[in-house]
Subunit: 344 residues, 2 copies
Amino acid sequence: MSELKNDLLLKALRGEAVKRPPVWMMRQAGRYLPEYMQLRAKYDFFTRVETPELACEITLQPIDIVGSDAAIIFSDILVIPQALGVEVLMEEGKGPLLPKTIQTQEHIDNLKTEGAAERLDYVSKAIALTKRELNGRVPLIGFAGAPFTILCYMVEGKGSKTFDKAKQFCFTQPHLAHQLLQKITDATIDYLKAQVAAGADCVQVFDSWSGMLSPVDFNVFALPYLKQISDALAPLCPVILFPKGSWYALANISNTAASAVGIDWTVTPEFARAQTKNNITIQGNFDPIKLLLPIPEIKKLVKEMIDAFGAQRYIVNLGHGILPHIPVDHAKAFIDAVKEYHNE
Amino acid sequence: MSELKNDLLLKALRGEAVKRPPVWMMRQAGRYLPEYMQLRAKYDFFTRVETPELACEITLQPIDIVGSDAAIIFSDILVIPQALGVEVLMEEGKGPLLPKTIQTQEHIDNLKTEGAAERLDYVSKAIALTKRELNGRVPLIGFAGAPFTILCYMVEGKGSKTFDKAKQFCFTQPHLAHQLLQKITDATIDYLKAQVAAGADCVQVFDSWSGMLSPVDFNVFALPYLKQISDALAPLCPVILFPKGSWYALANISNTAASAVGIDWTVTPEFARAQTKNNITIQGNFDPIKLLLPIPEIKKLVKEMIDAFGAQRYIVNLGHGILPHIPVDHAKAFIDAVKEYHNE
């Protein structure tokens, strides 16, 4: 492996001094890029995910085109249910569908836990290939869905505004929910370890639906599993947790083994810093819709955001994935604004 | 008008001492009630809303069946776009559709602001009839959607997880957004005043989508209009604001003329009380999914919730509308638990 030429992300994660914060964007390898759309027109979703050469090519696109300070491997959080033997259908532009949802003890017993991470070997191959192609330009982020969010899809069977069925399952059958969460957690830890072994420099865990939980329920159904993952991975590489919508959990998250926490735009820099007491690096939180503003306004807002968070222990990012209709030059302006940042 | 036999809600709103807090449920006149489903099978949505006798009958159902301490007039927040001349289609179980969305200055200029509130005269009639039928048993709550939330539907044209188009409209064309928000606000104030004149004892303003905004944007696109409504209505009756998901706005909301603020279950009692400094009554925040728990557990959780919020300056409610698949006896247990509350 070649040494990293740009290690801003890792420095920020380790709490080391940086001359400016690093920047990347959630879903930066995505539909706003014409180059991605060309591959999307030719190969279906899981072909793109499961073919290391395609996943690598897609992962590199934003590094070449908009110049992010980190790459994140192109994949999907629902590969874990697949690895556990659950069918996942992905209709382009429609979101996922899991025809056979998890409802009973038998369903949980029948999950194929043995060798689950090994069945995701194509992700390790994609990571190894991407590391080679990156040739040390920027770090590579591995990722997985958080156990509660994966449970949401496995029980609900599809996306939802409120994941009522998944929450009903947790609240009315907590014994089953914890069994399922533990199986997901075990597979996820193995899977993330394999990503690190293949070359991932750090990992992010996406708890996209934890914000549907009350603080009490977050501490029961989300936090313990995020902790297990952080404890298992932190000795190997920095861990970023992104419990979207769980603003109330920042203090607890800052006391895990994770190196950083992602926040959305409802959280002010002041609140985030006060809750986390500089125990942890903060990542976020530009509202992706604001990338539709004129470029000078984007640049002004980014500068103000960095001033407010402070340039240290901070990773510039969006508060949610970039949207398909963002012009590429606006995305690039977001990145450029960070690279031009200096605070005198 | 007969005097109120149960004025717990109004006392809690005025900050007066109560022996126990009042309780009602958002969407308490709704699909979990078989009696409602019978009317739903016979009359389409807007027939139910626009026929005072039907709206009255539906409004009274939860008072008779589960015994809430307040009635809330059966209607819909999207009557305001209708009154402004915008077509609203409501396909049963599918959510609203506004085929002609607001996008341009011309669209805003063409809104039928003149006489908008008068076109909602059927709501006043329903309120007057319901007050008569209630005969002082419990107070009657009037309501409207908050301007930002109404803008969301008028610009987006339908429900959405993120209301990207509506936010894009606000951020990229703020001048148009403020014109639209002001027209909605003016109509809403007239409409709520008419509800009070017809007999509503207090009003609630639902900002169902304000939580999509950052604190800065909330202060630009939501709060000023909530303030205008509170200022206009507070001299006439207590106002409850429910900016769903805007946990960060509690301190600002507590400094408006409103008497109460609704919160969802992500907000702890401690956080809500600390932010609002007892300036305002708190309403909420039981997770509706938890009404699927066994009845003894529901009762235990309700008792704990009241203990945590405190019985004074508190209105027991859900953190969001009751769900269609909640058993009626579970909803009733929620209400009963409050009535049985005593804290020694």
